[in-house]
Symmetry: C2
Subunit: 373 residues, 2 copies
């Protein structure tokens, strides 16, 4: 990201939708926003660095309503969901979340949502930044499936960090400590309908509260802020620093429709032996058999502190382009520059070195096990 | 839009893609951006008001690369395109543009792109802000059509305003004056591959240059700026003021998937009698037969100058909600507040009045023939 002092302004119109927490985030000091799934999402409050330390040391609350849901119901709902992802969902329980890359017929990644199974034939796809709704609708229509697909009034609020569980337990009761990772429970809080999932886009632990009625946005936000006070809660956002340190991928940054799951380390989610002919099965078989020509790796970037890339940084070896940095940040935890990069396969061994062409000059890059991908 | 001085910052990462003109727009003084089709798009330079007058009095150049193209080729390309829109394309010529609302099986509007026919089975859909690519891909896959669908390296640059034609004629030759409205020609400019269309998102006349190779972004931008100098060209953007005055609709603002073409004045583009069973035909027949319960109208808002809505403003009659303002602006030309609003059908006659609930208080609204919808 560009240094905050140089950021231009963002225009706000109806089209850049506001989350149910929007007014509360402004009142809490949100200073910057992005647009994600046609919705404004805060990107920092105090500063990206200060927000990071709140997440790492205590607990942080995030408006991630922009993770819009695709709700799929109807007799063919399971059939459609299994058609959309290479992941084998035959053992997916009601009350379980699954990370499900969606791919097209060529194996190109459409989106990488988290699936929530609410009932036998009732699912949510909690989207990354692309209109997975339109893809699901188009496929369902063409295949003649008996499903209803819509964007429900559901807005996640994430509570992340080492003290997140204490905050959520104080709000809902000790029973929430028994929710396993990537499972969820339905609950209400003073009449506010919610789903409580142990999930979230950090590796610091925590929960996502899926608000099921937008009119309670401010009320829920304030209740979380109040419950978090004893634990030093602060408003925050998905952290570009923490997620690079932790090797969490971002759709649109680290992968696009141009990439297949094997290039981006998601091959482990592709079950090519399952009986179902999910979309892209033949393409993925061919890709796997042939092997990939490039893949994502963790990279350490030498030299002084970087600001992080705001577009791809080319990677060269002996003057020849061999890849690009997709995401990067100065790691406050490891006190070095870290990156995620897509690199030609012959340069992906641990310790491989190359040149990274940043706007401020050439830096040395080394394939590293931090971030771990 | 919020007053510019109160706008928060926008985050810039790879995911918020940069247009080929991005660096040039920054150098030209772009101060604010939105995200449109996952790409940064400038929203103002000097000020929305100053930019407006450049457009109205002289000529304005816009980075509208965020109007991303869906390229559809292959033996079934025409078949797919006709499936996607209720508009009858049987007479669409090569070299012609057509405004083609895309609807789903319920008649809900997916996007409202401009179609360009480059060859018998070669089309571009120049998108509004939704992933029409994913919808087209999903439909094509499900229907088993033999097409290739992709986002090509194509980036429109609009030249709009009363002196636009002179600028484009100076650049390409007098022959461009013969291009009719919503027709286009292929051309090159010092080796830069382009399509020149007489089109654009204003009613001040002009052209869109579809750049067909992003590496020439800065060069094309500078050539237009240079050619426009004698005519007082200024960098600008699609104008929220002009388009409300002119009654040009904006997808995501004035219509969404929740709306059908008859509600938003696009019924004239729906040919329900054509032999092709396009998607949504039965639904649109039922909607048309029943009549709509709400529709978009032009509205005049009483009282002092408004800033324009940044989200829907509720509309009430005798305390009962009967609609919402979808877009609005203070009209510099007519020197009054104008709006586009979705209103219950029984309150849509010219001269109907109601209350508009703005964040700053209640205003009187009157259905008006300006803007004309």
């Amino acid at each position: 990201m560009l240094a905050t002092q140089t950021l231009p302004a963002i225009g706000i119109v109806q089209r850049t939708r506001k989350s149910p927490f929007f007014d509360a985030t402004i009142q809490s000091g949100a200073q910057g926003f992005t647009v994600y799934n046609h919705m404004l999402m805060p990107i920092y409050y105090e500063s990206p660095e200060a927000d990071y330390w709140h997440l790492m040391n205590n607990v942080s609350m995030w408006d991630v309503a922009a993770e819009r849901q695709v709700e799929i119901t109807g007799p063919d709902a399971f059939k459609l969901v299994q058609l959309l992802t290479p992941r084998n969902l035959s053992k997916c329980k009601i009350g379980q979340c699954k990370y499900v890359p969606l791919v097209d017929e060529n194996g190109g990644i459409i989106n990488d949502p988290v699936l929530l199974r609410l009932a036998e034939n009732h699912f949510w796809l909690s989207l990354a930044d692309s209109d997975g709704l339109l893809w699901a609708k188009g496929v369902a229509l063409g295949y003649g499936l008996d499903v209803t697909i819509s964007e429900p009034d559901v807005s996640p609020l994430a509570i992340q960090g080492p003290k997140a569980e204490d905050v959520v337990a104080d709000m809902f009761g000790e029973w929430i400590r028994d929710i396993r990772f990537f499972y969820f429970k339905e609950a209400t809080l003073d009449g506010i309908p919610l789903i409580i999932a142990r999930s979230g886009w950090s590796k610091q632990g925590g929960f996502e509260l899926y608000l099921r009625d937008g009119k309670y946005g401010a009320e829920l936000w304030n209740k979380v802020a109040e419950a978090g006070k004893p634990y030093g809660i602060a408003p925050g956002t998905p952290s570009g620093i923490e997620r690079v340190e932790s090797g969490l991928l971002s759709y649109g940054n680290d992968m696009t429709l141009e990439n297949n799951p094997y290039e981006v380390g998601l091959g482990r989610y592709c079950d090519l032996d399952q009986p179902v002919d999910f979309i892209g099965k033949e393409a993925l078989k061919a890709i796997k058999a042939k092997g990939v020509s490039q893949k994502l790796v963790g990279v350490e970037i030498a030299g002084e502190r970087i600001s992080g890339n705001s577009s791809y940084w080319p990677i060269q070896k002996d003057g020849v382009e061999i890849g690009k940095v997709t995401s990067s940040a100065y790691s406050l935890r490891y006190e070095k520059n870290l990156a995620i990069a897509m690199v030609a396969i012959e340069h992906t061994d641990l310790g491989s070195t190359f040149d990274i062409i940043t706007p401020d000059g050439v830096r040395n890059g080394t394939v590293s096990d931090t971030p771990k991908l």
